[in-house]
């Protein structure tokens, strides 16, 4: 059987002296939606950043389509077809909406056309000339997702896309992620909102203290759900 699209093995990461990831192991297969679940500070966001190569120091192995990413600079990693939607959304204040949308360079064929993007996010079309940060929180989140869809990247790393958003917007983002999965995108999703994640994902990895401590498939309904709740209960 072919190797999964993304394979993470024994991934460690540091911020200065702080050792944040202590040997992450997990993998994502082409076309899957996989979540990293866990409490605040467990290392989920750092895991995404370590995949992208934007932590100060990392070791171990991250393979994408069989190619080793540890050791590559971030812009080379992105060019292989990995796109990131950061937790703070990263909308640029000095760029208007159109410039924000067109900012990430196209890295491969097969990205969404502008028409397809506006069909997914109709609000954006009317705001093209607004300053990026003048949008509402929900619109900024949509813009942050929209701009990585046109690049042709096939693996999307989404960091808490529902954080702080109204339920209607959360539902819209949920529908969007489902549509993207149907179109063959592979998605690694970091979430704290497990109700949201449970409806979308094929598999969940539970992250605690910089390690994967459990894996729960969406098909393991009853007992899996109980375990999930146990992990995430505060």
């Amino acid at each position: 059987m072919a190797e999964p699209l993304l394979v993470v093995e024994d991934l460690h990461a540091w911020y200065g002296e702080a050792h944040v990831l202590h040997g992450m192991h997990f993998s994502v297969r082409t076309g899957e939606v996989v979540t990293l679940l866990g409490r605040n500070g467990a290392g989920k966001t750092t895991t995404l950043k370590a995949i992208l190569g934007i932590v100060p120091r990392r070791s171990g192995s991250v393979r994408f389509e069989g190619q080793e990413l540890v050791g590559l600079p971030p812009h080379r990693i992105a060019r292989l077809g990995i796109a990131w939607c950061p937790e703070e959304r990263g909308i640029f204040a000095s760029l208007d909406v159109q410039e924000n949308l067109l900012l990430p360079p196209v890295v491969a064929e097969g990205g969404l056309s502008s028409a397809a993007i506006f069909e997914l996010f109709p609000n954006l079309r009317e705001r093209l000339s607004s300053q990026g940060t003048k949008l509402s929180g929900g619109e900024q989140q949509m813009l942050a997702i929209a701009r990585i869809l046109r690049t042709g990247a096939r693996l999307l790393l989404l960091d808490e896309p529902t954080e702080g958003l109204a339920p209607v917007i959360v539902q819209q983002i949920g529908r969007t992620i489902r549509r993207l999965k149907e179109q063959g995108f592979t998605i690694l999703l970091v979430e704290q909102n497990f109700r949201f994640a449970a409806k979308l994902a094929d598999r969940h990895y539970i992250v605690e203290h910089g390690r994967v401590v459990d894996e729960i498939a969406a098909t393991e309904l009853g007992p899996g759900q109980e375990r999930l709740v146990a992990y995430l209960a505060v």
Partner: protein
């Protein structure tokens, strides 16, 4: 003879023109500083020395290689810009993430070293550089005499400033630059080679300084300290315009040149301090500068 506000018109317009000339140099130099500060977060104190290097490169091209003004206008920015690229790659790069103070110390020290080397080689008396034949002479506008070379300096400076502004504000390359100024990590994670962009941006800012140096060569004497004298005023211009603001540096550069020129007419004693007085007032009322974003 016509008088305006009790001042003979030729005197008034003469000083206005002188103010515009100075303003042109302020604008190009502070524009380079703004571009560099925006992306590198480095206050480039070497800028004055790099302006001087541009003038000397023009002088050396003429006296050693027989290449005249127009070649110098093209080659000096490229050559001096290339030394800027070396400085960024070998030195400035290592300061990434450190306090502003380190960049300031390094670039200030570099300026002293470069000025010292040139003084050692050429002495401190200035070297003459002739106005190119195409731009000699002038126009009598009726109310004043306009030397062609000075008109050219104001015109080409405006054009270079506007072109730079257009590239930064209206093109895709410019949107990369603006985005990387805000959040370089995210821009690099989108697949853009930010370290290379940083190097080229520094090279471009330095090339602008050298370009101004070539423009200045026929007006001022080519001397090792020509930049050191000018750069203090240019830093005041940058502070007034707002650190890192592109449009701010252009408008403030020309504007303050004119204000300085007019002060020479109405209150000559104050002309060398007026810019610093304005700087103090602006810092009190709008600490981020006239065009700066606060916070």
């Amino acid at each position: 003879m016509a008088e305006l506000l009790g001042i003979p018109a030729p005197v008034l317009f003469g000083q206005l023109l002188l103010g515009l000339i100075n303003g042109a140099f302020y604008a190009i130099l502070s524009l380079g500083l703004a571009v560099i500060f925006g992306l590198l977060n480095i206050i480039n104190f070497t800028h004055g020395a790099q302006y001087m290097m541009g003038a000397f490169t023009a002088w050396m091209l003429l006296n050693h290689l027989g290449l005249g003004y127009w070649w110098a206008l093209l080659l000096a920015p490229l050559l001096v810009g290339f030394t800027g690229i070396l400085i960024e790659r070998l030195l400035l790069k290592r300061l990434a993430g450190l306090d502003h103070l380190y960049g300031l110390l390094l670039t200030f020290g570099l300026a002293l070293v470069i000025q010292g080397l040139f003084r050692n080689e050429f002495g401190s008396t200035g070297l003459p550089y002739a106005i190119p034949p195409e731009l000699r002479g002038g126009q009598n506008l009726g109310f004043m005499f306009l030397p062609n070379y000075r008109a050219w300096v104001v015109g080409v400076s405006l054009a270079v400033c506007l072109a730079t502004w257009l590239v930064i504000e209206k093109t895709r390359l410019g949107s990369y630059l603006r985005a990387a100024t805000e959040n370089p990590t995210l821009v690099q994670a989108m697949g853009i080679d930010v370290p290379r962009m940083v190097t080229l941006t520094y090279g471009f800012g330095v090339a602008l300084a050298a370009f101004a140096g070539v423009l200045a060569a026929p007006i001022y004497q080519v001397s090792p300290l020509m930049g050191a004298d000018l750069i203090i005023v240019v830093f005041a211009v940058v502070v007034i315009g707002g650190m890192g603001s592109i449009l701010g540096s252009i408008v403030t550069g020309f504007g303050l040149g004119v204000i300085e020129g007019l002060t020479k007419v109405f209150w000559p004693e104050a002309s060398s301090t007026v810019i610093f007085v304005i700087m103090a007032i602006v810092l009190l009322l709008r600490p981020a500068g006239l065009f700066g974003r606060s916070g």
